[in-house]
Amino acid sequence: MAAAETIETLLHLGVALKDAFVKAQDVAGGDLSWADFMKSDSFKSISGFVESSLSKLSGPSLDQAIQAVRAKQISVRKGRALTQLSVDEIKQYSDLVDAEQLLVHKELKQAANSPTFFKWFVDDALPTLVSIAKVVVPLLL
């Protein structure tokens, strides 16, 4: 899978999980654990998509994405010091570094259909994905 597609898959997975979790919380009338969420109709409605997304992320996809992100960092910097980059280039480089930081997380490498992973993914990874996708995905295409 191409690096841009990996980032988009992660983003879509995070958005789907968060959306389904919020809906399940509404049905439950408030507090809901991620374990209980996985028993909800809301989760069942996206479970096929979740399985499909997780299977796409297994294998070499993450490593390939990390290599592509690092290559693009080099391409943006062109051997220059950070102080020589324009504001736009610094934004690009910074978002690429954030992407790399996300992709090397052990939680992501060990992604699984589990409440622990989903909680980390929605609470910690999704905000970064939302922040970087608009800049990083076009750079990786």
């Binding site: 990390i66 504001v87 610094i90 790399e100 930081q101 052990k106 060990q110 910690d124």
Partner: protein
């Protein structure tokens, strides 16, 4: 997760660093899975470099948050050293 959020405002690069634990790399080595701590250390080095730039610009603009940025930068550097050390164990 260590993360940096930067917003370019009027030519001044402002940095708000949020340090919320280190779920990076290290433990993955013990399980023979995931990425090496060196990967995490390397990427945090890059974050430190970006934070150094932000600190320079912060100082140039006499920003009140400079001390906070400097403190966070110190934490980032320390985290990078720790992660690289983990990978050698």
């Amino acid at each position: 997760m260590l993360s940096t959020r930067r917003v370019a405002t009027g030519g001044c690069l402002r940095v708000a660093l949020a340090v919320a634990g280190l779920g990076l790399g290290g433990c993955a080595c013990e399980h023979g899975q995931g990425h090496a701590a060196a990967d995490a250390g390397e990427v945090i080095d890059k974050q430190a470099e970006l934070a150094e730039l932000a600190l320079m610009q912060c100082k140039a603009h006499d920003d009140a948050k400079c001390d906070d940025v400097a403190a966070k930068l110190k934490q980032i550097r320390s985290a990078a050293v720790d992660l690289k050390g983990l990978d050698k164990k």
